[in-house]
């Protein structure tokens, strides 16, 4: 069986590839095989019946920018200008009952020693022995399958969203991974207040075949494909205050900024981030009069590609960007060789500010307010709420599962709480020291606690916080608060769908993405893309669409 989730959130690994996949039917398909191989999905009623009740937490730290709810169930992440000075406790009573559990999660840091003071401190607070086993994040997709094949799964496993298909989670739930519905479904979750405060969309990412299996981590209440950013410091210096309301304004601004002779171009190639400007549906599919259609068929897509080609042909896009040269250090945007780029919201943070300021003092990134191509009301697609879901082993006894869930509840303590501080930073004086900008890791803490590995097993809704850069937090929180009004969930959002084997090549849609890229860069005429779509449809695209119609839409999931 090929498993896929309808969302793509490759997070910080390959942002452009992730959003590139947003229009391709679905990049998360494995050519998998077992006796089933027929695919399927949950139903709307089935999902509603198992979702945990959402209950915001009363006793956490108070954010400077509280969550704002908007269209389509979007809920912005709370923003904190400063790290809270008083750290309230959110977990009362006994957590563990002395059990020992292993948890495997990816790590992109040097692997800490198995027994260290940081792990000990957390275990002491838990009253149980939780043994984190970090696996190399870059090879995680090859570390886990042998464990599954050898039936040696750990007690607790983190599955990043873009590996769902590789691990064939659709085939593992129920057979190797525990059904958590009896423990967390409906009001049962209220026993775990921090878990109950995770937005519902996150939980939906853990539902397979109408049962709840996964615990969502790093849940984003308003996950989007991204935004269009500009170099505010450079524009300020030129005395330009951008007022972009339409695609024409955007291009005009680009023409004003473009200076190839000086080695500065207006744009990076931002095709996939312009989709939302032109109203192209993200996520690969959209619904029209109750019929599912491929986003590749959407009329606005052609308009968007044509617009991108115009930018390219007008010489407004950096030649290296058009040549697909993506790696440079510092990035062209950081270095000021391009002034406008599309990117994930993850790029707008303290880390970006640090590398940008290192390239040029005064560096400032700002997102354009949302706009639409013709000046009408814009929309922004809401993508999957959680790209990181953890699963428990089916071999655990009910009591052990309850103990693990109490531990997950501890891990899911919100930002600024006592528990959050402990699991992310360790012990003050040993693993971190407190500065005016919040905790700063010591050498010991950097060696052991930098992974923040516990949050891969359970974590609260994400927050906006940039240590030492409150201005970025303010700008980001304001941008979100403004944008949330226009949020619109993509079709099949937060839905785990298992597509049958024979559609795996069609669903990957590699040739469509290639064709769209070629047209948007002005290398091929529009007909090139139209022909690719026609070929794709006859080679199985239409059949795949019909499959979605019968197995997902007609079952009331749209």
């Amino acid at each position: 069986m090929s498993s896929t989730t309808a969302f793509t959130r490759r997070g910080f690994l390959t942002t452009s590839a992730a959003v590139g996949g947003a229009i391709a039917a679905s990049p998360l398909l494995a050519a998998c095989g077992n006796s089933a191989g027929k695919g399927g999905a949950s139903t709307k009623q089935g999902i509603q019946a198992v979702l945990p009740t959402f209950k915001p937490l009363a006793n956490g730290a108070t954010p400077d920018f509280p969550s704002v709810s908007g269209a389509g169930g979007a809920l912005t992440n709370p923003g904190f200008l400063k790290y809270p000075t008083t750290l309230p406790k959110t977990v009362t009573g006994k957590v563990g009952s002395g059990g020992t559990y292993t948890g495997v999660a990816p790590s992109w840091n040097p692997i800490p020693p198995a027994n260290n003071a940081y792990y000990d401190a957390v275990n002491k607070a838990l009253g149980a022995t939780f043994k984190p086993q970090p696996g190399n994040g870059n090879t995680y997709s090859t570390i886990i399958p042998p464990l599954i094949a050898a039936n040696k799964l750990p007690d607790w496993l983190q599955v990043p969203g873009w590996m769902v298909s590789t691990f064939n989670i659709g085939g593992l739930v129920g057979t190797k991974l525990a059904d958590l519905t009896p423990y967390l479904g409906g009001d049962a979750v209220l026993e775990y207040p921090n878990l109950a405060a995770i937005p519902t969309g996150g939980w939906q990412c853990g539902v397979w075949n109408n049962r709840l299996y996964g615990i969502p981590c790093h849940t984003d209440g308003m996950s989007t494909a991204g935004a269009l950013f500009y170099r505010k410091d450079v524009l300020d210096a030129k005395g330009i205050t951008p007022s972009v309301k339409t695609a024409a304004d955007f291009k005009a601004l680009g023409q004003e900024l473009n200076d190839p002779k000086g080695g500065v171009w207006a744009f990076e190639d931002s095709r996939v981030y312009l989709y939302q400007v032109f109203g192209v549906p993200l996520g690969g599919w959209y619904l029209e009069n109750g019929k599912v259609k491929s986003a590749n068929d959407h009329p606005q897509l052609l308009e968007c590609l044509d617009y991108c080609a115009q930018l390219a042909k007008a010489g407004l896009v950096h030649p290296d960007s058009l040549a697909g040269v993506s790696a440079s250090n510092p990035s062209r945007f950081n270095a000021g060789k391009t002034l406008i780029e599309g990117g994930g919201l993850g790029a707008w943070n303290d880390g970006d500010a640090k590398s940008g300021i290192a390239a040029k003092p005064g560096y400032l990134r700002q997102a354009f307010p949302l706009f639409s191509h013709d000046g009408s009301t814009p929309t922004i697609g809401l993508t999957g709420a959680s790209g990181w879901v953890s699963y428990l082993n089916k071999d655990l006894s009910p009591d052990q599962i309850k103990e693990c869930l109490r531990i997950a509840n501890y891990f899911a303590a919100p930002f600024g709480s006592y528990e959050y501080n402990l699991i992310n930073f360790g012990v003050e004086g040993v693993h971190y020291t407190m500065s005016p900008d919040g905790p700063v890791r010591t050498a010991d803490g950097s060696n052991t606690a930098a992974d923040q590995i516990y949050n891969f097993f359970g974590s609260s809704q994400q927050q906006i916080y940039n240590a030492g850069y409150p201005d970025i937090t303010k700008a980001t929180a304001e941008w979100y608060a403004d944008t949330v009004k226009y949020a619109s969930p993509v079709l099949f959002r937060n839905l785990n769908i298992t597509v049958p084997d024979q559609y795996s090549k069609v669903a990957a849609g590699t040739e469509l993405d290639d064709a769209a890229t070629a047209v948007a860069r002005g290398k091929q005429p529009m007909s090139h893309f139209q022909e690719a779509v026609a070929t794709w449809k006859s080679a199985g695209g239409d059949a795949l669409t019909a499959w979605y119609q019968t197995n997902v839409v007609d079952k009331g999931l749209s």
Partner: protein, 337 residues
């Protein structure tokens, strides 16, 4: 001058190894005498040689032969979790899909065109370079030139292409110079129609210097006395090259050509992978990148394996054909007939 069976009649142990009669290239054994020696004797005689090749054989076995077993995934919807034995068997379905896939045939066509262009434009260059270098008499100058032309071989493709892009790219040195002097820019790195020449040029820049090594060795084996007597007979520089140098290199040239043909479908995976975005798959998709993008990237391993297997079979046919042609020409090719 045909050399008769090289001492096969003589008991092998008594044959002085170092003084084996020289095998001339044209001296194909008219009738390879049936070896009379028993396997046991031969094993004993070649013991040390056999021991010496064991590590290489092991490496070949582990890294070349064992992985061939994975070819089975071309007939499956291969899933790494279920492995080769438990993945769904689909028979020839992957091949059916593959042969009906226009993107695949396009990649195949690109591969052949790029290979042909490289054969014509790249192959003669190391030979010419070797001959030129052979005429340089000063050893110091010669070593210097050799070092300079060998060096790029050790650069990775990423580095080479980055250098090309920094020099010739749309925002590179050349085009920024043209731009600043109000001249039209020259699209080199992203022009699809000239891409085949660009990558050949890159290959020449990077590999031609390294490629001269074998030809220099062939040149060194030519007896200088031949040149001297030819010169005495009044042969000029060109005649000497035509009648001595080139015939002296002929065996090596043909061997390299056979190897090149066997490798014809390998037109440089990394080079294509890195530049596929620049010119688009219309021009840069070759069989290897096709297998990568449609197989590995799309998590569609069986499909990629099918494309790879097809390529392997064609390569095998090519190398046998080329070898046969070499034998027809009276050359050794890969092995002596």
């Amino acid at each position: 001058m045909a050399v008769m069976a090289d001492g096969a009649a003589v008991p092998e142990e008594t044959r002085p190894e170092t003084k084996a009669p020289p095998r001339e290239r044209e001296g194909r054994d008219p009738a390879p005498a049936k070896r009379q020696i028993s396997l046991r004797v031969r094993l004993r005689r070649d013991k040390s040689l056999l021991i010496m090749i064991v590590p290489t054989m092991l490496v070949l076995l582990v890294f070349n032969y064992l992985p061939m077993f994975g070819t089975i995934s071309a007939f499956e919807f291969y899933d790494p979790i279920y492995g080769f034995f438990h993945s769904n068997w689909v028979g020839l379905q992957n091949f059916n899909q593959l042969f009906g896939d226009s993107a695949f045939w396009h990649a195949f066509q690109n591969t052949l065109v790029l290979s042909l262009v490289q054969l014509i434009l790249y192959f003669p260059i190391p030979i010419a370079l070797a001959i030129l270098l052979n005429t340089v008499l000063s050893t110091k100058l010669r070593s210097f030139i050799q070092a300079v032309v060998y060096l790029p071989h050790f650069f990775s493709w990423v580095l080479v292409i980055t250098i090309f892009n920094q020099m010739l790219g749309g925002a590179g040195l050349l085009n920024q110079f043209l731009r600043q002097h109000h001249m039209a820019t020259w699209d080199i790195m992203t022009n699809g129609s000239t891409f085949k020449y660009l990558i050949t040029f890159q290959a020449v820049w990077k590999e031609a210097g390294w490629g001269i090594i074998v030809f220099l060795a062939a040149l060194a084996a030519i007896d200088p006395a031949l040149y001297e007597s030819a010169a005495v007979d009044g042969a000029g520089r060109w005649r000497r090259m035509w009648h001595i140098t080139l015939p002296g290199m002929r065996g090596m040239i043909i061997l390299m050509l056979v190897l090149r043909l066997g490798n014809a479908l390998n037109v440089g995976f990394e080079q294509m992978l890195i530049q596929r975005q620049a010119v688009g798959p219309q021009h840069a998709e070759v069989l290897d990148t096709f297998a990568y993008y449609y197989g590995i990237s799309g998590n569609n391993f069986g499909y990629g394996a099918a494309a790879g297997l097809f390529k392997g079979v064609i390569s095998l046919i090519l190398i046998f054909a080329a070898n046969k042609a070499a034998h027809r020409l009276g050359e050794d090719g890969l092995y002596r007939k």
